[in-house]
């Protein structure tokens, strides 16, 4: 900028919490994560989510969840955490050898 700027009012001393937003796009489908937003409370979070994420009828139902309420697996433990499933190929139908003439299996 050409001229020095006056300091603006700092954004509110206390930040509005972050909410994760989930949208059910139509009946019969799961709610799906679409993004996040800031809002002071749950009611405002829902209204903001409607305006930000469903301006074109993208949803028939909305969930907002405080981001702090989400417990996530750690990417660092990805291998050890998900490994137990890796060596159990017998959980998949393709594991089994079935004679070709056996139908509807």
């Amino acid at each position: 900028m050409s001229q020095p700027l006056e300091p603006t009012t700092p954004t509110t001393a206390r930040e509005w919490p972050l909410w994760e937003v989930f949208v059910r796009s139509r009946r019969g489908l799961n709610h799906q994560h679409v993004g996040s937003l800031h809002a002071p409370d749950a009611a405002m979070a829902l209204r903001n989510a409607r305006d930000v994420y469903t301006r074109r009828s993208e949803g028939v139902s909305l969930w907002v969840v405080p981001a702090t309420a989400i417990v996530a697996s750690s990417p660092d433990e990805k291998d050890s955490f998900f490994d137990p499933a890796g060596d159990k190929a017998y959980r998949h139908p393709t594991f089994y050898e079935i004679p070709a003439e056996a139908q509807h299996l």
Binding site: L5, T11, T12, E15, G35, D41, M44, V52
Partner: protein, 311 residues
């Protein structure tokens, strides 16, 4: 850790927020996504300027929806940036302090109604060409935000084209107004793709990281090739005497871009730089009481709920 990251990039897989990533990758993304988000919200100003003067209720409703979309796009992008460990409030403070940039295109004024058409057709058109490849950006949240944005931009470009088409098939004065707007927005739109490849030092690294998929000059050429035939449909000319189709390659060759103007506007000397930031800061300051009131209301409701629970 670096090896895991390199493997994701090499496999053209997506990097997600909690994955380890090199500091340079994180910083580059924060800078780029923030600049992109700032552009969306500063971009509301030149168009907001015409909402009260739209020529019909139909045009007014459309323009309001478009400006609201820009706000929404800003929010998608701030949300993506926050997954990199920076707060939206911090990004806004950086914008207000002039320490992060927004697209220079918004430092040009919107002088007539036809500018709404030219912005939709050319500026949003250039933005789409820039943004479509970012839908495949290596950073997941940015790519996902871009998918949403690109879906919505298409309406922006088409409504702009329709405005210009209507004007250019109207009275002589209306057609002249459309032509004047195109004359003023054409070159700045070409500059939106950034400096030429040999003067764009960060391109190679961004491409290696899968943040950028095409170089500035490639995207610019793509835009010109798409746009010239559209100008013929509009019945308007583009202000470049050197513009001609190269029969051998099928590409349109265009004249030299005045990069001194680009760098001058970037430095802050464009017609509206000071006005845009000033307006943005004022809007932020004047909205402070609303944010405080909403916070106070939330506190009161929470306290009441706690009391009712205790009783």
């Amino acid at each position: 850790m670096q090896a895991g990251f390199d493997a994701l990039i090499a496999g053209d897989e997506r990097v997600e927020p909690r994955d380890w990533m090199p500091e340079g990758y994180r910083k580059t993304l924060i800078r780029q996504i923030a600049q992109h988000a700032h552009s969306e919200i500063i971009g509301m100003q030149p168009e907001g300027n015409w909402i009260t003067r739209a020529p019909s209720l139909r045009r007014k409703a459309i323009l309001m929806a478009k400006v609201q979309d820009e706000a929404g796009h800003g929010l998608y992008l701030y949300s993506a940036a926050e997954t990199l460990g920076i707060d939206r409030s911090e990004l806004l403070d950086l914008l207000h302090a002039g320490r992060q940039k927004y697209s220079s295109i918004f430092n040009y004024p919107t002088l007539t109604w036809a500018d709404m058409g030219a912005i939709g057709w050319l500026v949003d058109g250039a933005a789409i060409v820039n943004q479509v490849p970012i839908c495949r950006c290596s950073y997941g949240p940015y790519a996902r935000a871009m998918v949403r944005i690109c879906k919505e931009e298409s309406f922006h470009q088409r409504q702009g084209f329709e405005i210009l088409h209507t004007l250019s098939h109207g009275t002589d004065a209306q057609k002249a107004m459309a032509q004047d707007a195109v004359d003023r927005w054409w070159w700045p739109s070409l500059m939106m793709f950034g400096p030429p490849d040999d003067e764009s030092p960060n391109t190679a690294q961004s491409m290696a990281w899968g943040i950028k998929r095409f170089s500035n000059d490639e995207l610019r050429q793509k835009f010109v090739d798409m746009t010239v035939p559209q100008s013929e449909v509009l019945g308007l000319t583009l202000p470049d005497p050197d513009l001609r189709r190269d029969e051998a390659t099928g590409h349109y060759r265009f004249g030299a871009i005045d990069w001194s103007e680009f760098f001058d506007v970037l430095k802050g000397n464009g017609p509206c730089n000071a006005e845009r930031i000033e307006h943005r800061r004022r809007a932020h300051d004047e909205g402070a009481w609303v944010r405080e009131a909403a916070g106070a209301y939330a506190d009161k409701q929470a306290a009441r709920a706690a009391q009712a629970g205790a009783a």
